[in-house]
């Protein structure tokens, strides 16, 4: 397992080196690619099925091993002050943006506690801007769900249990560090049980009647999303999709963060 990981990371780096001519990535950003793993191509049964479409295929892509941390995001804000708390436009983030930081460019007294915790209270726009700055992008929902569907690596623990255990306890005062939950079989940490995560197309599946994709029947709402669900007992997935449905791009929430993805061929 470990050796495979390193091989994957190496190959990821190799690919990146080959692509070294692309864009003007800073040294920092190239180093950040170290924190990614290659997610091999594959197919999965989506939680909400488009009638007759069957399984969905996902091309291979890179995904961050860990969610973006407060210290990562602090670097981004320092490099891009227009995304700081006092300067960001209300169109791009509501007024709770980064409220757990002490100021525009400081985590304050809780720095040590917060530095390695996933950044939360950030909007979809901010997450997207960070990804772009890092030479990456947000994963789309299919990529995220596909990667998140891989079982827990060490423990014989179903994902649903992890999620249900997580939501059945109130939020801790400080979000735990990245890597403090589980690694999955694709060597990705904390996909469940630490925070919610933004995806690029978070508003494409609607349990309500105003689905953007048009693929779901509009009666979905009567059953509050239980029509068209692949597995009506997958309450953990229901929770995730309901959560995404409640979002708007400018929202910032206590337990909502993100991680980045990247194309294999850039």
């Amino acid at each position: 397992m470990e050796s495979k990981t390193s091989i994957r990371i190496f190959s990821a780096i190799a690919v990146l080196l080959l692509l070294g001519t692309v864009a003007s990535y800073s040294q920092t950003n190239r180093a950040a690619a170290k924190g990614m793993v290659l997610i091999p191509a594959g197919s999965f049964k989506p939680f909400f099925e488009v009638k007759g479409a069957g399984k969905k295929t996902v091309r291979s892509f890179y995904l961050d091993v860990y969610a973006v941390t407060n210290s990562d995001f602090l670097r981004f804000v320092k490099a891009n002050p227009q995304w700081s708390r006092s300067r960001i436009s209300r169109l791009y983030a509501d007024k709770e943006y980064l409220k757990h930081w002490e100021s525009d460019f400081s985590l304050g007294k809780k720095h040590a506690l917060l530095a390695n915790s996933p950044v939360t209270n950030i909007s979809w726009f901010a997450a997207r801007a960070y990804s772009k700055w890092a030479g990456k992008r947000l994963p789309n929902m299919d990529e995220w769900e596909y990667a998140a569907g891989a079982g827990i690596a060490d423990k014989r623990l179903p994902i649903e249990k992890v999620i249900l255990n997580w939501y059945s306890k109130p939020n801790p005062a400080v979000t735990p560090h990245v890597g403090s939950t589980f690694k999955n079989k694709l060597n990705v940490y904390d996909m469940h049980g630490l925070i919610w995560e933004w995806v690029s197309d978070f508003n494409s599946v609607m349990m309500g009647s105003d689905s953007r994709s048009g693929a779901l029947n509009s009666n979905l709402f009567c059953a509050a999303g239980s029509n068209g669900a692949a597995n009506k007992e997958d309450y953990a997935a229901f929770l995730r999709f309901a959560f995404r449905e409640s979002l708007k791009g400018s929202y910032t929430i206590n337990n909502l963060g993100f991680r980045c993805a990247r194309d294999v061929k850039q």
Binding site: L164, N171, S226, Y235, L239, E245, T252, N254
Partner: protein, 478 residues
């Protein structure tokens, strides 16, 4: 807390202002459906109910409800992470009037993990408000509706997965009073039944959480009134006085079970069936579907404790479905006497169904006194000594003595009748009154003869031999 009180105060002031404005002549005419004024509704926690709107014309009513996810008591020593409308289970009671236009604000506390919304059964429109009220943590949604139909309605969270949100405590009642109002009563209470599907077994101490399997099987560990075991029992019981009329607004949140709502020792004078306009009279038990309600009314005629139960009775005795109303005041013995007597009941004693039961079938050879004393001692120890004591002294105030018993020794039947038929009522033994019950003793005539011989010739008693034939004579009423 203080803030809250101030808010209530302001709400009440606003409310009073509204009442006044309503009584102003020259406002809109009776029957006109246009809105007159505006106020923020006072919301209450169970078992309390807000005051009646009591106005003659529709108002614009502002309702502010906050969703809070928090750990609270489910039973003594048992905690659960509830999701609540307003910080308690069941959620706040909302009271408006038919025709009111409601401006509804649903806030989702920023520390919550999940989005939530509200489906009010009082709302006409797809989703009952669920769609426009979908709210992410740290946000507030606003929507409006007009209360077209009067009645008592359930509200609940309808965010996927709906069953889970309801199972965790997200429900309450909204009363839409009819235009003409409800008849006045002395006391109104808010009672809501629901069940909880916990991983831990009923009563197991500690923090527990939702169990999917039990919810799918519809096998709850807990069935409760007002959100926890004993929420309205003993010192937390609802209070009423003799002579008062009581109206209960009863909801059933489910998520799965139908309630057979019953109050032990009361007959419902009126039941607004299913919370609607149909009034049934003189009802013992009313069915309340999951996601439904009922309004029940009765008069408290006598003092005592009224037990509110789900008459699917194991839920009451084993799963927590019990609430109480304590009624204080004067007894009314005509209506309810209490115990007026306690008589020995002996099946067959009158009818002599088994005339030969216990009788000696054929003449048995009578025993000598020493034989009877020996057998009698053993029989006395196993049949009589528990009450009358080994030394025949009895227990003061409870069991009369046999030793030197003037009462026993004076009886013509030598005591045979007492052993054969039992004895109850007042007797005087050695100057002391006793008023207890002695059951009949299951011995045959020969054995009774031995026991009586032993008793009548021990501890200073001198009564001579008792023969089996004498006992048989008493048995056969000779």
């Amino acid at each position: 807390m203080i803030n809250y009180n101030i808010k209530i105060g302001i709400a009440l002031l606003a409310f009073a202002a509204v009442i006044n404005s309503c009584t102003n002549p020259g406002k809109s005419k009776e029957g006109n459906d246009s809105v007159v004024g505006q106020y923020e509704a006072e919301l209450t926690d169970a078992p309390n109910v807000p005051r009646s709107p009591g106005y003659k014309y529709p108002e614009k009513v502002i309702i502010k409800l906050e969703v809070v996810e928090k750990v609270m008591r489910l039973a003594d020593g048992v905690e659960y992470n509830f999701w609540t409308f307003g910080g308690k289970v069941p959620g706040k009671f909302i009271r408006i009037r038919e025709g009111d236009e409601v401006e509804f604000y649903l806030s989702n506390h920023p520390n919550n993990k999940l989005p939530h919304n509200i489906d009010l059964h009082a709302v006409t429109g797809p989703g009952g408000g669920a769609e426009p009220s979908m709210t992410a943590p740290g946000h507030t949604s606003k929507f409006s509706f007009k209360a077209l139909n009067p009645g008592l309605f359930v509200y609940h969270c309808a965010t996927a997965p709906v069953g889970l949100h309801i199972a965790n405590g997200m429900y309450g009642l909204i009363l839409v009073e009819p235009k003409e109002g409800l008849p006045p009563v002395d006391k109104e209470f808010y009672v809501m039944q629901s069940e909880f599907y916990t991983k831990a077994k009923y009563g197991q101490l500690g923090l527990t959480d939702f169990d999917m399997e039990k919810a799918l099987d519809e096998k709850p560990e807990y069935v409760v009134f007002n959100g926890s075991v004993g929420a309205a029992v003993a010192e937390k019981a609802m209070q009423a006085k003799v002579g008062e009329t009581v109206r209960l607004y009863v909801g059933n949140a489910g998520p799965n079970l139908i309630s057979s709502f019953h109050v032990i020792g009361e007959i419902f004078d009126n039941v607004h069936v299913e919370g609607g306009s149909l009034v049934n009279k003189n009802v013992q038990t009313t069915a309340i579907p999951a996601g439904g309600a009922a309004i029940v009314e009765f008069k408290c005629d006598v003092p005592g404790t009224l037990n509110l139960v789900d008459h699917s009775i194991f839920r009451t005795f084993n799963k927590g479905a019990l609430a109480q109303i304590k009624v204080v005041g004067e007894e009314n013995l005509k209506v309810y006497s209490g115990k007026q007597g306690d008589m020995i009941y002996q099946p067959g004693a009158e009818t002599q169904k088994e005339p030969d039961a216990g009788a000696v079938k054929s003449a048995v050879p009578e025993k000598s006194l020493p034989e009877r004393m020996e057998q009698g001692l053993v029989l006395f120890q196993s049949n009589c000594a528990a009450c009358h004591q080994k030394n025949g002294e009895g227990l003061a105030g409870a069991f009369p003595p046999l030793a030197k018993s003037d009462y026993l020794m004076a009886r013509k039947d030598k005591g045979a009748g007492i052993v054969l038929h039992g004895l109850s009522g007042k007797i005087k033994v050695k100057g002391k009154d006793y008023d207890a019950i002695m059951p009949q003793v299951q011995l045959n005539d020969d054995e009774i003869a031995s026991v009586l011989s032993y008793v009548r010739n021990s501890w200073g008693n001198k009564g001579g031999l008792v023969k089996a034939s004498e006992v048989s004579a008493v048995r056969n009423g000779k």
